[in-house]
């Protein structure tokens, strides 16, 4: 574990944050960091001015990295889970091993998974993504397979009876009807991944987790609180977007009305 933790010893953000050196005239051996605001000087719990002035250099890039890591993991996990679920749906025997492997991966704590992967793929984005994908598979696989299995039997029978091929039934009937399940699986997996990406700071210096990890070692709390709040906001926003996308994709599901 130490090897991993060492990675994060550099604390660039905080140096500029505390601004403990004020430039007097004379030989500027130490750069001039400017005068701290009253809030910063008083070591306030959360200093909006500091948050705002560090938005572009600190928070925004970390947020983008966080989003990028999340999107890659969720998309990759989703594609793998859909493929596995479709296979399990077509060939029943495939479901049990898929479920066993993905649930095993799900039970391994993310930190341990990172640690296990570092010797293989190093302190890299790949390590982080592998762990995130492995972690998301179980939820995605389970919800997608359930969605496929809960497609009304008479719709599938009607589709067969009308002469749709197996592939046409999958793409025109089963997957569209499993969409609500797909979306709910994606929502849980996305929110979970946003949270787990924060732990990835132990492996790579990226994302909001990295800001949090560095700030934990300092008494100055604005960076820690700001990054944490952003992670929460990101999770909520992603969830909201998925709900919205789900509604747009399934107009039939909310058009029920007493007939």
């Amino acid at each position: 574990m130490n090897g991993v933790l060492l990675q994060t010893a550099r604390v660039p953000g905080l140096l500029s944050a505390a601004g403990q050196h004020q430039g007097h005239g004379g030989g500027p051996v130490i750069p001039d960091y400017g005068t701290p605001s009253r809030c910063v000087a008083a070591d306030g719990t959360f200093c909006p001015d500091w948050f705002a002035s560090h938005w572009r250099v600190l928070f925004w890039p970390a947020l983008l990295q966080h989003i990028e890591l999340t999107v890659i993991a969720v998309v990759a996990g989703f594609l793998i889970a859909v493929a596995a679920a479709v296979l399990a749906h077509f060939q029943g025997w495939f479901a049990a091993p898929c479920s066993a492997v993905s649930s095993f991966l799900y039970t391994v704590p993310p930190l341990a998974l990172f640690q296990l992967l570092v010797p293989v793929s190093g302190f890299s984005v790949l390590t982080v993504e592998l762990a995130l994908v492995a972690y998301s598979l179980y939820l995605l696989f389970t919800t997608i397979l359930t969605g496929l299995r809960e497609v009304p039997e008479d719709a599938v029978r009607a589709a067969r009876g009308m002469g749709l091929t197996r592939r046409q039934i999958l793409f025109k009937v089963e997957l569209p009807l499993a969409l609500p399940s797909l979306v709910s699986g994606l929502r849980v997996a996305t929110v979970m991944t946003v949270a787990t990406v924060a732990i990835a700071a132990y492996v790579i210096d990226a994302g909001l987790g990295s800001l949090i990890l560095k700030a934990l070692q300092s008494p100055f709390n604005t960076q820690f609180i700001g990054a944490g709040a952003l992670a929460v906001a990101l999770a909520l926003a992603a969830d909201g977007l998925l709900v919205l996308a789900g509604r747009l994709l399934t107009p039939w599901a909310r058009s029920r009305r007493a007939a």
Partner: protein
């Protein structure tokens, strides 16, 4: 392209056997029957009698283990199952409509997989919606969940008719409807059938429905054996055995009367047609009423004859009927009804 209206074709079951894997007893045992082109054949029987299995073998949703089924002069074994199914209309209980597609999208399913262009598909969808009495402007863009059960069933029928198949398979299509809606949809389907004359195989477990809908009825018994295959009147008059007699019910005489109309009787002349000298004691019924309702009326009113009336005036509108005095065609006596019922 090719002509729009496909000729109905006869369907022949030739010693068809289906034994499911892991079972020794056949689900359908040596079924042999011919459904003439353009007729409605009802497969009737208790559950587990193999009627649905027999139906699903026609479009090869279930493969027969023995014998042969021919549509027209072609064996279904020689046809690709996918192409075969696309040329057969298929309606099931609860309709099997796709909840995620609009009504138009549902009806367009087979035209789309057949590769029709958009214009032709849309024209066909509109035509079919008109045909089943759902104005396209109002219904085409709705989803199945927004329709009533009866409307959904009509959409199910329209969808099955989309590619104008010569043959239709209907698996208890009206089973989930309430009795009143069911009767209405049955009537609508019969009127539609009158125009389109498809060959229809219709699975039911309801003898009344079978009598109403079928040109012929095939009664199945447990073990997938055909107990009797006959026209409804014949079946009700001469059940082949105890099983059939029990299945059609002790009131089969009444059921038979419901197949005959007053207008078909030889009516006795009505003395002083429409006169009031009998004090209105003789109730009236239109010629289109069934013998069963005539008998029922006689029993209820304690009389032994009903006056049979024709259409009111020339206008055949229901609304106008109240005003014009309908002409009296004659008198139907209890005796005449009884004789007709046992003829």
């Amino acid at each position: 392209m090719s002509q729009r209206t496909h000729e109905a074709e006869q369907i022949v079951f030739d010693r068809v056997v289906k034994t499911y894997p892991g079972s020794t007893a056949p689900a359908v045992d040596e079924l042999t029957l011919t459904v003439p082109a353009g007729e409605v054949c009802v497969l009737l029987g208790p559950s587990g009698s193999g009627k649905t299995t027999a139906l699903m073998m026609v479009n090869r949703l279930i493969e027969p283990t023995g014998g042969d089924i021919r549509i027209g002069d072609r064996s279904i074994r020689d046809l690709d199952p996918i192409r075969l199914r696309r040329s057969i209309g298929y309606v099931i209980q609860q309709t099997g409509l796709f909840p995620h597609l609009t009504i138009a999208g549902n009806i367009a399913t087979v035209p789309k997989v057949l590769g029709w262009d958009k214009k032709r598909t849309k024209e066909r969808v509109d035509e079919l919606l008109e045909l089943v009495g759902l104005p396209p402007g109002e219904y085409a863009k709705r989803y199945p969940a927004q329709l009533s059960g009866g409307q959904r069933q009509r959409v199910g029928i329209a969808r099955a008719l989309a590619a104008d198949p010569p043959v239709m398979l209907m698996d208890e299509p009206f089973g989930a409807l309430d009795p009143i809606t069911r009767e209405r949809v049955q009537d609508e389907f019969l009127a539609l059938h009158e125009r389109l004359r498809k060959t229809v195989i219709f699975v039911s477990h309801d003898i009344d429905e079978a009598v109403r809908m079928g040109d012929r009825i095939a009664i199945f018994r447990e073990g997938g054996r055909l107990a009797q295959y006959a026209a409804p009147r014949e079946l009700l008059k001469k059940p082949a055995d105890d099983f059939v007699a029990r299945f059609v019910g002790a009131d089969r005489g009444l059921k038979r009367l419901s197949l005959m109309r007053l207008g078909d009787l030889d009516l006795a002349p009505a003395d002083g047609a429409g006169s009031a000298d009998r004090g209105g004691a003789v109730p009236e019924l239109p010629a289109a009423a069934t013998l069963r309702s005539a008998l029922s009326l006689m029993v209820a009113e304690g009389v032994d004859a009903v006056r049979v009336t024709g259409d009111a005036g020339g206008a055949a509108g229901e609304a106008g009927a109240a005003d014009a005095e309908p002409p009296v065609l004659g008198l139907a006596s209890l005796d005449a009804v009884r004789k007709a019922g046992s003829a």
